[in-house]
Assembly symmetry: C2
Homo-oligomer: 167 residues x 2
């Protein structure tokens, strides 16, 4: 497999993975492109490479910046803006995990908390609702806490233990 083919394969796979996870294709592809590019790219570069429109590029770059995984870079002597993505995969994982927790997990935890706190009127269906949402609430909270713990420190003892275990 040659460079060009490998590059396209990576960008496409990353793109469809993105859409599977609720991130749109263009956004995931832009990030993938920047991720393997040795130097910062301009909007023109990205449009050309991925064959997408200016508007699309602009909007998705903005979203990537909102997520905190892409940033603008000033190139001396150049008028236009250049973009780079976070290149360290660990740091990238940390940011993505944190953002997903904030955007997606937290609101659900809140609803589960509310729903599982309704007053027990003694009926079987109410009992079941409370029991099941409570269990889900506990699970979601532990999973989220676990994610944050694993993700918030570079090399804590848990990670070390896990890494050892997995060898």
């Amino acid at each position: 497999m040659e460079y060009q083919e490998a590059k396209e394969k990576f960008i496409n796979t990353w793109g469809s993975l993105g859409s599977l996870w609720g991130i749109n294709k263009a956004m995931a592809q832009i990030q993938a492109l920047l991720f393997i590019s040795p130097k910062a790219l301009s909007m023109e570069d990205i449009m050309e490479e991925l064959q997408i429109s200016r508007g699309n590029t602009s909007m998705n770059l903005r979203q990537l910046m909102d997520w905190g995984i892409v940033s603008k870079e000033l190139v001396p002597g150049e008028r236009k803006e250049f973009f780079t993505t976070q290149k360290d995969v660990q740091e990238l994982a940390r940011i993505v995990a944190k953002e997903r927790s904030r955007r997606e997990i937290q609101p659900v935890v809140k609803v589960l908390q509310e729903v599982s706190s309704i007053k027990d009127d003694g009926t079987e269906k109410t009992k079941e609702l409370i029991k099941q949402t409570q269990a889900l609430h506990e699970l979601t909270e532990s999973a989220d806490a676990m994610l944050n713990t694993l993700v918030n420190q570079k090399q804590n003892w848990i990670t070390k233990s896990l890494v050892k275990l997995l060898k």
Copy 2:
């Protein structure tokens, strides 16, 4: 908040969470409904409760069965089929994690493996592609292995330690 409101809130939240994660709304809602229902429900029950068509219900129930989180239940004396979902949240998490790993993570790992193995032609861009996809490959594999480890045994020492740590 009364039972009916809590129920609707839970089903809706679960439904939109689903679509955010690449699972369609009806599928997530059906699972949510079964999850808080004290007894198995028929297709009629589900259609009525969620206000969706017969075809939609049938197709999504099938998908949930493919995932292994919903099963048919035979009710003596009844002609139609009844459905239940896995009620144990731990077991549910285990199944979902396993399926997502199989369906989504594995194929990506394979592509990363292939792409990061192209021959190094000495150019900067090829070096960057190899380096970055290799790093991503390693990260993805450890994350997947970690997920499987955490999920495949009910109460191993890691889980115990984590639970202790999070208290």
